[in-house]
């Protein structure tokens, strides 16, 4: 199956300051991708380049195998059949909801247009709103209309620029799942830009983590969490702590938490220092265990406590414990490693020397 979207070695810059550096990825028809990264990492710029609003310095963007952008040239956005949902929704204030949705449907006859508008209002669950003006809608409703308007002309690719950022935190994931359901139902290929990983997990099939203009990893949410390709991804996705260990043999590392199995980074010989990524679910609370750690912080999460524990060396790790294990701050509790496989990175100090 050919890829719908191919981004190859793309470089983008503002006034000669590069903001996107040599980014490459591809997206299959029907799947939902996500560009995830901290604000200012270049993800929105890249999305705008895919839409045709920004010129590439070098590299190439292909849609269905056809080049739509190469260095210094871009097919105008109106000729790309790429829909876009904007952060501020950009609904036209002078048009009704129906007028907004029909805006991109001028190639259709009046009757077809009306049918399509009705279809979409149904799809986003707002059938009674055709003649309402945007300012009369709530934020969540505006958002749905913005999605409906963008997918009305059946674009080959839908781009969503931080579409949930103006929503309440509780609403975001729910809306993300709703929009995902709509896109899947319509078999629309889409790319989402966000800085919120839970939004990304809720919506996307494949996620690209971007930092300072570089694509750090392009993978599923599961793999980003469990098999981060580098320390940035390990830090950025999920919670966790980094502890130091020493390679024992080609499968085991010795650390403060005991001997731990894991995949040894390439080029690491026994005796080599490594950083281990320890997730809160890797450490189990066990009163029987000899391994002790002191509680320095605790946060009640309902079903469980998230403890911040300090090991003898002063290193801190996180630990989830069922909420009936209520320990006071300062108390020492027993912990046990509950892992079959740990992510580790070669220490940077070492590679530098």
């Amino acid at each position: 199956m050919p890829e719908l979207l191919e981004v190859e070695n793309c470089v983008l810059a503002y006034d000669d300051i590069p903001v996107v550096k040599q980014v490459s990825f591809a997206l299959e028809t029907g799947s939902i991708g996500c560009l995830l990264g901290p604000s200012g990492c270049g993800k929105t710029t890249l999305l705008r380049a895919i839409a045709g609003f920004e010129l590439l310095r070098s590299g190439e963007i292909r849609l269905r195998g056809q080049v739509v952008s190469h260095s210094g040239w871009a097919l105008p956005p109106e000729q790309r059949r790429v829909g876009m949902v904007f952060q501020d929704f950009a609904l036209f204030p002078h048009l009704t909801v129906a007028g907004n949705i029909a805006f991109g449907l001028r190639h259709l006859s009046e009757r077809e247009r009306r049918t399509r508008v009705r279809e979409l209002l149904e799809l986003v669950g707002m059938p009674g709103y055709a003649s309402v003006y945007p300012h009369q809608l709530s934020g969540g409703q505006q958002q749905r209309i913005a999605v409906a308007r963008a997918i009305a002309p059946r674009p080959e690719l839908l781009l969503l620029d931080e579409p949930f950022s103006s929503m309440d935190a509780e609403l975001r994931e729910q809306l993300a799942r709703e929009v995902r359901a709509i896109l899947k139902q319509e078999a629309i290929t889409a790319i989402l830009v966000t800085h919120d990983q839970y939004e990304a997990f809720a919506m996307a099939d494949e996620i690209g983590v971007i930092n300072q203009g570089r694509l750090m990893q392009w993978d599923s949410g599961y793999n980003l969490y469990h098999r981060p390709a580098n320390r940035f991804v390990a830090d950025f996705i999920g919670q966790g702590a980094i502890i130091t260990g020493e390679v024992l043999n080609d499968q085991h590392v010795n650390s403060e938490l005991g001997i731990i199995p894991g995949r040894i980074p390439e080029g690491c010989v026994p005796g080599c220092k490594v950083d281990l990524l320890v997730r809160p679910d890797d450490i189990q609370h066990d009163d029987e265990s000899e391994l002790q750690a002191r509680v320095v912080e605790k946060a009640f999460r309902g079903a469980e406590f998230l403890y911040t524990l300090e090991l003898h060396s002063g290193t801190r790790v996180l630990c989830f414990a069922p909420s009936h294990h209520d320990h006071a701050i300062g108390e020492s509790i027993g912990i046990r490693m509950e892992i079959d496989h740990l992510v580790m990175f070669r220490q940077e100090r070492q590679t530098a020397s």
């Binding site: 070098s58 210094g72 040239w73 204030p93 805006f103 300012h135």
Partner: protein
Amino acid sequence: MNSTTTQTVPATSSRQHWLSSGWRAGVLLVALIVALPVLTVFSFVFEPAGEVWRHLAATVLQDYVVNSLLLMLGVGAGTLLLGVSTAWVTTTCEFPGRRVFEWALLLPMAIPAYIIAYTYTGLLDFAGPVQTGLRELTGWGYGDYWFPQIRSLGGAVVMLSLVLYPYVYLLTRAAFLEQSVCVLEVSRTLGASPWRTFSRVALPLARPAVITGLSLALMETLADYGTVQYFGVDTFTTGIFRTWFGLGDPGAAAQLSALLMSFVFVLILLERWSRRQARYHHTTSRYRSLPRHRLRGWQLPVGVLVCLVPLLFGFLVPAGQLLAWALRTAPEMLGVEFLQLTWHSLILAGSAALIALLLGLFMAYGKRLHGNWLVQGAVRIAGMGYAVPGTVIAVGVMIPFAAFDNTLDGWMRAQFGVSTGLLLSGTLAALLFAYTVRFLAVSLQTVEAGLGKIRLSMDDAARSMGYRPGEVLRRVHMPIMRGSLLTAVLLVFVDVLKELPATLILRPFNFNTLAVRAYELASDERLADAASASLAIVLAGIIPVILLSRSIAHSRPGHA
């Protein structure tokens, strides 16, 4: 070297580049032309002081400065008193007629100061209805009683305050309405009474807006020519006229203008400063309309009176007097001459409004599409003209235009023996140029406000739905902007219709407008005959008042 930075620039982006730099250059050019009168006036600061200037400095200059300052002081106090009290009563109190007062209090804006000045002169002078009535009532004769002299500095203060207080009212009222109700409720929970909440929280919060309104009113005061001239109060504007036309010294007139401009700059700085303060004064964006206090007992007549007095004396009485005069004199005044005056006024105001609109669009789009710090600075300069008194603009236009005409005429005569005469000065071109300088700000502000409603993402959204840039302009920008463009045209149109000093100086020989004719007739003490033209101007002046009150009603916070 990185290969990506040495890419050759392809054709599409090079065309874009030329468009962009061409547009920027155009914006800078417009700003420069708009700044020309003020630059001209200031260039004379460095000229050695001539005989006339020394004469002025020794005799009347002190009067000009003192009178202008006293006028500003008086009008400042008057507009603050009327503007803040009416704004307070209409926003925090509930009483019968409040809704009508809310917009009716803007009506005095429709009357130019010089028109209200001679209307009250007609009402209050010895032969006027007030004194005649008083004599009939009491049986007094001439010299038996004292009556305040309206044609005085004090009279000018009252006249200007009556028509300029709406600036303070408008901005103060908006500030009260925009105040977060939370802040006011916090004050109540901390144990402050409603009155104390108003004086200690609401009023200090509104201070930046009050100062902005005040500085606008004071700019108009400094720019006034008709009132002070008619009342015989020597200020800068009358001084500039006399120096140019009486003493025949453009250089000294320009130097006086520069001095006047330095007063204006202080006001501009004051206004800018208070606007900046205003930004820090907004803490939350949660609005709810203020709970109104219902006036009862003795409070009711006091509240009504606070609103009624400015409306009565600022609009109803003078407009009624004008109407009475106009009805009496209409048969003889409404002839061919009146039609011609109206035609002249309409043509001038219409052309100026169109020019201002087109330039405003050019500048505003330049800033939106190709904005950098240079373009933004240029747009800001182009918007400063509203602060420059018409008299100063006239001087600043006349001097370079006359110099150009003389130079060209001399050169043509020397080369070809043909006299080109006056090509620019004394023509409608000079007049339209002056109007553009003064009123570009009005259209620019309105166009920018309209354009601000169209977020950049809306352009992108339309593009991504298959519309070319030209179609985006037609299908998205035009429908959203239409109201703002119409407002811009109307506002400039009415401002030009009312404008007096620049028209008086720059108009072609024997070319009269409604404003000029009304002023001339009034100066000849033919007050009743001036009423028809004045009434036409006042009626036109009501248009922007309606627009303003409508936009107030629509922009009420709390209605997302």
